[in-house]
């Protein structure tokens, strides 16, 4: 059976990211004849279609020749399906990179072989590290334009490896691949021009990298989404009718695994109980892991509702009203200390008061600098928060699902910030 890899791409303007994505789609035969014809009609050079046009879908994007918003692309090979979040590099880069990275198990970062690691590369890598994307691929693009020069390309790879290490990526989480998206070198097919390169092609790597998320081995967490209680008396005569006391807690396993007999704690309340059964529409399961939508039946009759979290009783999260967190500010509306907002964590939304602003991450230098007076769009900073309801949280660095939250503007309902519990970006001195 095929599995699924969700990944994101990031790069600065003119690194050729849209062309790389177009190349991946084209060379995996994921682009069909009518799409190619549409691209050919729109390309300046009719003989060599501009593959970037496969990606930029909105009227304004084609008119301005830029990518505005995160776009999702789909392709598959005989062994794996891919969901690609293609994140544009320039306008609102933090907002787009954070969005794309938040669901990614791997990120592909592009640099131009002529320019190497630049400021924008550092910014993107810092955001990917902050969001704890488990794996990173550096594609050094346009290698045809530097004459496939081994020394030059290896120097860029070494430069980037140093950057990745300083951002907390382990060496085995990072792979560097020299490519030419325009010509197709090392994207899907191995290049004749880089005999010195013995690593995988980009697609080869995407196909073989493990998809198990780090959350698989973490303690069990599941925010309760909905309580399933079939109406009594309906179809009671039918043999497959649910038992009349059926009360199931529906949710998607956020981390770890759950099986019948496990001792769990209901948070924030703190009541302990035992999992009686792990149910699905297809029948009960022996075990369910991260990502699986299930319905849990418990041994005891407890008052549980949407917003509560079921967690491993042996390794529970911290329940607190006071959060030290890192915010990625995504809105044009600035944030000032004292602001009263809404916070959405798991399946619970509660009121929050913003306390003191802490250090700001200067993404140009990738260093924490002094606390600002306000946060403006694309800022990343530490902050302390006080919530109306106590929340069961984990450090984002340990469990992404229970360590992440949104800040929402009460009057407009707009999403203002991506929040990460703790300080997930640790910078090497």
């Amino acid at each position: 059976m095929k599995d699924l890899l969700r990944f994101a791409t990031a790069g600065s303007v003119d690194d050729g990211k849209s062309t790389l994505v177009g190349r991946l789609l084209y060379d995996t035969k994921s682009v069909l004849a009518d799409q190619i014809e549409a691209v050919q009609r729109a390309s300046v050079d009719k003989d060599s279609p501009d593959l970037s046009l496969l990606v930029d879908g909105l009227r304004a994007e084609r008119e301005q020749g830029i990518t505005i918003d995160v776009a999702y692309r789909y392709f598959s090979t005989p062994t794996r399906e891919f969901v690609l979040a293609d994140t544009p590099g320039h306008v609102q880069y933090t907002r787009n990179t954070v969005t794309g990275a938040s669901t990614a198990e791997l990120a592909v970062l592009l640099v131009d072989a002529r320019h190497g690691v630049v400021e924008q590369t550092r910014r993107h890598a810092a955001v990917l590290a902050l969001l704890r994307v488990p794996r990173l691929v550096l594609c050094i693009n346009k290698i045809d334009l530097v004459g496939y020069d081994q020394a030059e390309l290896e120097a860029i790879g070494k430069d980037f490896a140093g950057l990745a290490r300083s951002l907390g990526f382990s060496d085995d989480a990072v792979v560097t691949i020299p490519v030419s998206a325009l010509v197709g070198d090392n994207v899907v097919d191995r290049s004749e021009h880089t005999p010195w390169y013995d690593g995988p092609t980009l697609l080869g790597h995407l196909e073989s990298v493990p998809v198990t998320p780090p959350e698989a081995g973490a303690p069990f967490r599941m925010p309760v989404q909905y309580v399933i209680r079939p109406p009594r008396g309906i179809d009671a005569r039918s043999a497959d009718a649910p038992r009349s006391d059926y009360r199931g807690y529906a949710g998607q396993v956020a981390s770890g695994t759950v099986r019948p007999g496990d001792e769990v704690v209901v948070l924030p309340g703190g009541t302990r109980t035992t999992v009686e059964s792990v149910d699905t529409a297809d029948g009960p399961l022996d075990t369910a892991g991260a990502g699986r939508s299930i319905t849990i039946l418990l041994a005891d009759d407890i008052d549980i509702s949407r917003g509560d979290v079921l967690a491993s009783a042996a390794q529970p999260p911290t329940v607190t009203n006071e959060l030290d967190a890192t915010l990625c500010w995504l809105s044009d509306k600035p944030l000032r200390p004292g602001a009263r907002l809404l916070l959405k964590h798991g399946t619970r939304t509660t009121q929050v008061i913003v306390g003191a602003l802490g250090d700001r991450l200067d993404t140009d230098t990738v260093a924490y600098v002094d606390a600002p007076q306000t946060l403006t769009i694309n800022d990343i900073a530490r902050v302390s928060l006080r919530t109306a309801d106590p929340l069961p949280v984990d450090d984002y660095a340990d469990i992404r699902a229970t360590g992440s939250f949104l800040l929402i503007d009460p009057p407009t309902g707009n999403t203002l910030a991506a929040g990460l519990v703790g300080s997930p970006l640790t910078l090497a001195p």
Partner: protein
Amino acid sequence: MSAPVLDALEALESESIHIFREVAGEFDRPVILFSGGKDSTLLVHLAVKAFAPAPVPFPLLHVDTGHNYSEVIDFRDSLVARLGLRLEVANVQDWIDDGRLTERPDGTRNPLQTVPLLDSIVEGRYDAVFGGGRRDEERARAKERILSLRDAFGRWDPRSQRPELWNLYNGRHAPGEHVRVFPISNWTELDVWRYIQRENIELPSIYYSHQREVFQRDGMWLAEGPWGGARGTETLELRTVRYRTVGDGSCTGAIESSASTLDEIIAEVTASRLTERGATRADDRLSEAAMEDRKREGYF
């Protein structure tokens, strides 16, 4: 010991179920747009699985152009009856009869669905409207959120969409606004067919190969119906066809196909050189941004 890694279809199913449950937990009056086509039939199947053994906690809404194949309408009604669901039908004909809509010169009713849809949303006070849109279908849809805000006029503004982070969906909206929800955003056409096979989901018979009198127009095989028929030099002929998408009869073409089983359909879709919309939808061929323009006006 950790649980086995989900395969692609299991991961997509779990994601869709999560979306259904989020909306059921946060909205007062959701509704599922249901046409009887494969994508909306998949939606209903996933909704049933999300809330089992309890019934699906929201009704279905069909905006019926009146230009549907009888096999699809029969299928729709039998599915609704079998699952004990509530179906509302907004007949485009009613809007034409009382003058709120005017028939187009080309007879196509696909674009006419927008007004009855928006009127029905207001009338039903629906705050969340599930649709079977997929991001792989079309370039404008590739930029669509899973939860996508619509203003009081039903308009989509692609430039001011909320960022969608992790699996935390922000469905807040003002009175009069609503949210479109796309639980199968991340499914491809092939995923849909492979899942239909795995789950043994029943579909209208016109998805499978059959004999039909059709005529050729703009490279598509169209059938005669209340929407009109062959004109000028176009001639009716009996062909072995099937439908790859199901929509308004005036603009949805059949493809020549002998695929009569799911295995054969999957093989055919895998080998196809055309996207499903490019192959069978005249409305999407109108311009580079036909879908974006319709979506901005409130289309699904």
